[in-house]
Homo-oligomer: 364 residues x 2
């Protein structure tokens, strides 16, 4: 055996020697996070959330500072205040609600499915009925995409509900959304007339893969690149031929950015021209399926320094047909209906701020 | 013990019973791939490459069909033919060479580093000397980014070489390229005046993570989305402050697409406005660092149906400052200097087809 240097010499206050058991694995804990936070310098003191919480939160604030309901409760939980701050303030005719259940990151698919069902029951009993006398709220039910069979059952539970307009999932996944295991979900959406919405979230969390070349370092990097994973899901949906198999299916891409669309479609259409033998079910360019089967919600709309650049981009991406306004209330990067966009041509404004969404969701 | 159904009844030609050992794991092999290929229907027969090769190859063809040298040898291996088909055909003054070593996917970093060095020696002894009497060829040496310390040593081996202009890597990685472990490589590039080039490849191969939400299904999906991983690397380089730490560093983004740039920079600049406390080393918008420190090579330039759309996009992405022509000879999606672009304004044409690259690489 090699010679190992002696360990440190320790003493105790009680005596210099002790008899009895030596236990080599004992955990002690601070009485609270403050015992650690007070020993961290800024900005880490502000950001530290306690043991085991390694993942990203917005380091500034996740919601509008003015969106806390005056009578208490979390942001977005008070229907009267939401009506005052959003519906009445801007004259919203319909608000499509997307609760955030974060159900598809659990190792146990039954747990994820149960969370989805609980959120859907809650949504239906509150925002879609009790809080909804005038029908301004239209709902998205959540499904756990990790268990497609259970997701289909959940979709069937809401078939025919007067205020459910779509089925939603977070973008976090272990496989791109065009792949076969998800097809029963699309079949159920098509059969019951629900749009299928993808919303950023749970990427790289829990059991989901991190959809980038290794783990990002900062929230700004993670949040910027959410939009890239979104694009990968779209390419998967298009190339796998989901819209050929389910011609009545419509996919809503929510909160994933907008201006990337022309570059991605130009690239994919060019690849299709050379490689269409690999995806023979696509008998027209992928972008043609997009125009028929996909809509993007606008927030966070990109804001180049020169507003004319955004207008040029809206033209390149055929915004008149594919773009629908969204505010992302009450999040920190809320887009105001009156300020988020530069002045738009009359027709384009009408399409983005209502007409396309009314057609898409069958609203009057 | 539960009752298990009896197994299948088998017979042998020799006798109905046998004594002796039963061996439960024996492998037999076809005499060649054709024994399997002949039993596959099309298109799988064309694509099947034998056991263990599960990864993507271009299902059509990876190189121009006319690029096979008439005197034999692989595409791109005959200097006389390459001069005839590319240099002389189009009046190329300088061709920046990017060999394809695929070294950064090996589990053993010493193996990857050895492959890089062998490629660099080969390049220097052939294309940069014997084949290069007129200096038309400028070289990119390859480094294995999985071992940054060894990569620095490799870079130092080529310091001062008259025809080496940059250090290159494939985009496949286990961590985005802005992260700390790579910084010694950037310090060495800065110190020796080499540009650092990233080229698509080895994504999701060998030890590298698949930089998308799970594994793509088809080559068209994989190839389209290479451009997304590229963008994630760029966001990492910018947000980690690599260009603040190494103000003399220049990064060339090669063959990763072009038209995604405005959308990505608009999004990242907007995030920076809200989240700059997280990346306090960036004292100007990320896009400003891009303009000073990053150049994109043009192939595969996007080709919208309407050429005016590409001109609009080139304007949005400040092509006059950041874009440099590349052909990607001899690959299947080669961009011809005379046909790939629509007619460009005089200044823009001059910048893209030479001026920017001459400045970037210090060429006369």
């Amino acid at each position: 055996m090699a010679t190992i240097a002696p360990g440190p010499t320790t003493t105790t206050t009680a005596s210099l020697t002790r008899t009895g058991i030596v236990d080599c694995d004992v955990h002690v804990y601070p009485r609270g996070n403050d015992e650690i936070k007070s020993r961290l310098s800024m900005p880490w003191r502000d950001r530290y959330g306690g043991g085991g919480r390694g993942f990203f939160g917005n380091p500034v604030h996740g919601s509008r500072l003015d969106s806390n309901p005056p009578n208490g409760g979390p942001v977005g939980s008070d229907p009267d205040f939401l009506r005052k701050q959003l519906i009445d303030e801007y004259g919203i005719a319909y608000a499509v609600l997307l609760p955030r259940a974060f159900c598809n990151l659990h190792p146990d698919p039954d747990f994820g499915t149960a969370i989805a069902a609980a959120f859907n029951d809650w949504l239906a009993e509150t925002w879609l009925s009790e809080y909804n006398p005038d029908g301004v709220f239209k709902g998205s039910i959540t499904v756990n995409t990790q268990d497609p069979v259970a997701a289909v059952k959940e979709i069937e539970r809401w078939a025919g509900h007067p205020h459910v307009v779509q089925v939603m999932t977070d973008s976090g996944a272990r496989a791109p959304f065009g792949q076969r295991q998800y097809h029963p979900i699309y079949e159920a959406c098509e059969r019951h007339g629900f749009r299928f919405a993808i919303h950023p979230g749970t990427d790289g969390m829990g059991i989901n893969v991190q959809p980038s070349p290794g783990y990002p370092t900062h929230y700004i990097e993670w949040h910027t690149c959410l939009s890239l994973a979104f694009q990968a899901h779209l390419v998967s949906l298009l190339t796998e031929g989901v819209f050929v198999r389910f011609p009545g299916l419509g996919v809503t891409l929510t909160e994933g950015g907008v201006s990337w669309l022309p570059a991605l479609m130009w690239r994919l259409d060019a690849e299709w021209k050379s490689l269409r033998s690999e995806v023979p079910w696509l008998d027209k360019p992928p972008s043609a399926y997009l125009r028929d089967h996909v809509r993007l919600s606008s927030q966070p709309i990109e804001t180049p320094d020169n507003p004319k650049h955004l207008l040029a981009m809206l033209d390149l991406l055929d915004a008149e047909h594919v773009l629908m306004f969204a505010s992302d209330y009450p999040h920190w990067d809320f887009d105001s209906p009156t300020h988020a966009f530069p002045r738009l041509p009359e027709t384009l404004h009408r399409r983005i701020f209502g007409e396309t969404a009314r057609e898409w969701y069958g609203l009057e």
